[in-house]
């Protein structure tokens, strides 16, 4: 996500916040807060990396848990598709062309 092609496009829409799940105090509590879909069920560790888009008032928009589980860093078609869904749901500044360019950059980066 930090590659020179991807980062500027993401910066149009997002403030980037990477949290060390194991070492940053409170990171796991934050992940549980946003990763628990049903408060009646125990939190299930989705695996890392796990991502969530959050509005400035702290509401989750969408996370990286897709139809086949956590996409992590998108690396295959179903994962690219879910990441695209995430971007389309969150977009306010990103254009469709930006999103297409982002997905293409990820695909190209994974082919290197």
């Amino acid at each position: 996500m930090a590659t020179k092609d991807v980062a500027p496009l993401l910066a149009k829409e997002f403030v980037n916040l990477k949290l060390d799940f194991d070492r940053a105090p409170g990171a796991q509590d934050l992940a549980k807060r946003y990763g628990t879909k049903d408060p009646g069920l125990p939190w299930k560790d989705p695996g890392l990396p796990w991502m969530v888009f959050v509005t400035p008032d702290g509401k989750a928009v969408i996370d990286s848990t897709g139809p086949e589980g956590n996409t992590g860093f998108p690396a295959k078609d179903t994962e690219y598709a879910h990441f695209k869904t995430m971007l389309e749901k969150a977009k306010r500044h990103l254009t469709d062309a930006d999103i297409a360019a982002l997905i293409s950059s990820l695909e190209a980066a994974n082919k290197k």
Binding site: R23, P25, Y34, M51, T55
Partner: protein, 204 residues
């Protein structure tokens, strides 16, 4: 039509299926003896060691952790014994979570010696493996020779507790608490009319 399907059809019509044909005679496959796989080499003998270290420093910077350089050689008996230490419970998580590791081949003290010197390391016979810890900008923080890690009761063995203490002493401080950092990101997003892309990751 499969035999099972044929049986079902015949059973429904009141007939019985013919007995299955005898299996073909089996012939024992010729035994092929594979040579035992050679153990993987810890020290890459053809790598550009400087590039390896640079990559480790760049990677450590992304995760704000440190770099552990292991100077050694594949045919050095002490370096081979040291590999077991890495799997000891006292240090396994330290290696995994707190350090980017690089193993640099120094051959018979005839490879990458100038590179070692550039990190303040002067290697001598019997002193392998030698360890150097760098911060995330590549600055040398600490050195440790094999002798410094020797067991007090068995000088030929490595003491995992000593290795653990060395790694703990020089590991990077914990990242700041997530809560305030998250609140700051939300505030920045509000100012800039953006959202926050939170991604939870780990150095491993």
């Amino acid at each position: 039509m499969t035999l099972a399907l044929l049986s079902l059809v015949l059973a429904m019509s009141g007939q019985t299926a013919p007995p299955p044909p005898p299996p073909p005679p089996t012939v024992a496959p010729a035994t092929v003896q594979k040579p035992p796989a050679a153990p993987p080499k810890v020290y890459n003998e053809t790598a550009d060691a400087k590039a390896q270290i640079d990559a480790a420093v760049a990677s450590a910077a992304e995760d704000d952790i440190r770099v552990l350089i292991n100077w050694g050689a594949n045919d050095d008996e002490a370096c081979t014994r040291y590999q077991q230490v890495q799997r000891a419970p006292e240090v396994a998580s330290k290696f995994r979570d707190d350090y980017k590791r690089v193993s640099v081949d120094v051959g018979h003290l005839d490879k990458n010696i100038d590179l070692a010197k550039s990190f303040g390391v002067t290697l001598a016979a019997g002193a392998l493996p030698h360890f150097t810890i760098l911060d995330a900008r590549g600055k040398v923080l600490a050195q440790m020779s094999a002798k410094g890690l020797a067991s007090d009761t068995d000088p030929a063995a490595f003491d995992a507790k000593k290795m653990g203490a060395f790694l703990t002493t020089h590991q990077a401080p914990a990242p700041p608490p997530a809560g305030p950092v998250f609140e700051a990101a939300l505030a920045q997003a509000k100012r800039e009319g953006k959202q926050v892309f939170v991604w939870f990751a780990a150095p491993w």
